[in-house]
């Protein structure tokens, strides 16, 4: 073999080994790149988590600051209320004390007169003070003073004075005079703009405070108002809207933690989650309203106690001039109640402010008595009566609520696998795959597996060792060597050529083995990626079945809510203490 040939062979070997080491280098680098990619992904996740934590921290500290500010302001407002209107409380306490004193005859007329006159002097502009002077004068038969006191009280607050006197007279058994004042009160009312204290009238009906003749007058008037207001579609719609908001308040939380794989895979998940949490409202509504329907409301033993409670409510009610401070008080309270969340507080406050509004229409008073009894100041019995009156709006709001969430259900639930859904997907640049769960699961699985195979085939085939191309160069070189060496060197040339060829083929064989190993490794990665996708798909399919049964279970409670609304429609009126009292005239002995 000539020196040149030996050098060529040597160079070829060098090139071959360089190619082999380059190949190994490429494999190593691709491994490192995948590793770096993974680290980058981890870092990104960490950063996102950090950003979320930071945002949470900022939100939390803002809320704490809001709570502290609101707590300070509540203290200030309460001090202002006490300072400016605290003396009203004395009058209020005196009013109830006075009536009870009359009952048991433990208070002398002089004391009553002296204290009431003193309160009159101390409480300019407050309606209750002159009315109490009138009561004191009534007790001591001073008709002139009594009339003047009443006139002054009526001038300061016609509504409250009329209602107060109607109740006091009813309490003292003066039915005719009581009904006269009641009529006076009702005649002055505009059903489109009633004062907050009108809820007291509803309370009186549910407590049977006016006796049969009074209730008849009130009921007649209320029915007429209702009929009048119901002709206005907008007003009715407004009430349905109020009840719709009540439905929305009972919507359950997101069920995402129970369906993680479905949420991950299906783009329709937000709609499905919304439908399920809305359907969960049925259960919450049943719990709340079944308790109200079933509740045994025991009336007060004596009618005086019932009237006293109502009088208490009436006199305790704050005056118009206290309203700005009361409103501020409610605002700060809402912030504290909602843990410093200003948006939630604002939403919550809307219903508070409705109760604080000066003028409401009769239908709104009914709805508010049913929905926010605490805020408008009515008892449980009155709430039930109000729910009964509102059953039509309740039913309509509930029916549209159900219609809306059902209409929001997706017609087709799909599974979507993006390139980035797992690491193998990124390595193979797997195109997006979409499948509908309306197809049977085995078919879907086969389709997804086929998609993986199709997408990865060019990549894997590209890694195969190309014997055909690699073998051309050695064959040509060896043939040339044979042609040159055999005629010149004979058998020795043949042996040298064969040895050279053997070495060359050994090198090629080692390379092909390395390529096959790489191909196997990649195939394994593919198999793992495919398996992971199929598991995600199966998991999502199983969760879809669970979701469907959970949704059916919740949704199927809708007829129960409808039945409950039907029960409430009849429950409120029939069980009112008033009806029990007329059934037993002896119970009205206090009248």
């Amino acid at each position: 073999m000539s020196v040149n040939e030996a050098r060529i062979l040597h160079r070829i070997n060098e090139v071959q080994s360089a190619v082999t080491s380059l190949n190994q280098g490429v494999i190593q680098v691709s491994g490192q790149v995948a590793h770096v990619g993974q680290r980058a992904e981890e870092t990104r996740n960490d950063l996102q988590q950090l950003a979320r934590d930071f945002a949470d921290f900022v939100k939390r500290s803002e809320r704490i600051a809001n709570i502290q500010r609101a707590e300070t302001r509540v203290g200030v407002v309460e001090a202002q209320l006490e300072n400016q209107f605290g003396h009203h409380n004395v009058v209020r306490r005196f009013a109830t004390g006075l009536l009870q004193g009359f009952d048991v005859g433990l208070v002398s007329e002089e004391t009553v007169r002296a204290v009431s006159e003193q309160l009159m002097v101390q409480n300019p502009r407050y309606w209750l003070a002159p009315v109490l002077v009138a009561l004191g004068a009534w007790a001591s038969d001073d008709q002139e003073l009594c009339e003047r006191g009443i006139q002054e009280g009526f001038r300061r607050s016609p509504d409250r004075t009329s209602l107060f006197l109607a109740l006091v007279l009813r309490r003292q058994g003066r039915r005719d005079s009581s009904v006269r004042w009641l009529r006076q009160y009702l005649a002055a009312q505009d059903p489109h703009a009633l004062g907050r204290n009108f809820a007291v009238i509803l309370e009186c009906i549910s407590q049977g405070a006016f006796g049969p003749s009074g209730v008849e007058i009130v009921q007649e008037r209320l029915d007429a108002w209702r009929a009048q207001l119901l002709t206005d579609e907008d007003r009715q719609q407004a009430q349905v809207g109020r009840w719709r908001a009540e439905m929305d308040r009972h919507v359950g939380p997101s069920a995402q933690p129970n369906f993680p794989r479905l949420a991950e895979v299906s783009p329709q998940w937000p709609q499905m989650d919304a439908a399920l949490s809305h359907a969960a409202a049925h259960g919450a509504l049943i719990t709340k309203y079944a308790a109200l329907a079933a509740e045994e409301i025991t009336p007060q033993d004596r009618i005086e106690d019932a009237v006293d409670d109502i009088l208490d409510r009436l006199v305790r009610e704050f005056d118009e001039e206290e309203l700005p401070l009361r409103r501020e008080h409610a605002e700060h309270h809402a912030v504290i109640r909602n843990g410093g969340d200003l948006d939630a507080a604002r939403r919550d406050l809307d219903s508070d402010l409705i109760a604080l509004e000066q003028k409401l229409d009769y239908l709104t008073i009914q709805s508010e008595s049913a929905l926010n009894p605490g805020k408008i100041g009515v008892s449980r019995a009155t709430q039930r009566m109000a729910v009964s009156s509102c059953h039509d709006w309740f039913a309509r709001a509930h029916a549209t609520f159900c219609g809306d969430y059902r209409q929001g259900l997706p017609t087709d639930v799909q599974a979507v696998f993006e390139t980035t859904h797992n690491t193998a997907g990124v390595v193979f640049k797997l195109p997006r795959w979409t499948g509908s769960f309306t197809r049977p699961m085995p078919e879907l699985e086969a389709d997804l597996a086929g998609h993986w195979d199709r997408a990865s085939r060019p990549f894997i085939d590209g890694l195969a060792y190309n014997w055909g191309r690699k073998v051309i160069a050695p064959v040509v070189v060896l043939l040339l060597a044979l042609l040159i060496l055999v005629p010149t060197a004979g058998v020795a040339g043949l042996i040298i050529t064969m040895i050279g060829g053997g070495i060359w083929f050994l090198v090629l064989y080692i390379q092909s083995q390395a390529a096959a190993k790489l191909q196997d490794a990649v195939r394994e990665l593919l198999a793992r990626g495919k398996q992971d996708s199929l598991q995600q798909l199966r998991g999502a399919g199983a969760e879809l079945i669970d979701w469907t049964s959970a949704f059916r279970r919740e949704d199927s409670r809708e007829p129960q809510v409808r039945a409950l609304i039907g029960d409430l429609a009849t429950a409120g009126a029939a069980a009112s203490p008033y009806e029990r009292r007329v059934a037993d005239p002896g119970a009205q002995s206090g009248a």
């Binding site: 309509r396 059902r406 209409q407 259900l409 309306t438």
Partner: protein, 147 residues
């Protein structure tokens, strides 16, 4: 059951309409919300029961007249669950074009009927009225209308 009785009495579609215009004396919105009577249920169920085209057209006409006189507004048609069995799950009854079309889950339903699909599938409503405005009014088994 009062409703069942009404249903029996009013199933004779051609026996005149003594209750006609009764509902329309109410304000328009209230009339549109008035419960659908048993005659309508009967007609909606019959129209899907393999009638010949002429009878079906006659029935559709009766339904249109009934809606006009009683509720003041006539729907484009109805969408309801299909009882033919697989592969059909729901169907559309077009009152104006006199079409009855049954759909399998994968089929495309024309708008605005498509939006009533999920309402029908929940099985909570007897049928869903579909209006030209796109408004959907599901009707419960007891005749009450969701609106």
């Amino acid at each position: 059951m009062e409703f069942a009785q009404r249903r029996r009495v009013e199933t004779r579609l051609d026996a005149g309409t003594p209750t006609q215009d009764r509902q329309l004396q109410r304000p328009p919105n209230q009339a549109a919300r008035a419960p659908r009577h048993a005659g309508i249920f009967e007609a909606v169920h019959r129209i899907d029961a393999g009638l010949d085209e002429a009878t079906r057209a006659q029935l559709a006409q009766w339904i249109r007249d009934e809606y006009q006189s009683q509720f003041g507004d006539v729907p484009l048609g109805f969408f309801a669950r299909c009882h033919l069995g697989p592969p059909y799950v729901d169907h559309r009854l077009d009152l104006w074009q006199n079409i009855v079309e049954h759909y399998a889950p994968g089929d495309t339903v024309p708008e605005p009927f498509a939006r009533a699909r999920m309402l029908a599938r929940t099985g909570s409503y007897d049928f869903i009225e579909v209006y030209a405005s796109g408004e959907l009014k599901p009707v419960l088994n007891d005749g009450s209308v969701v609106a």
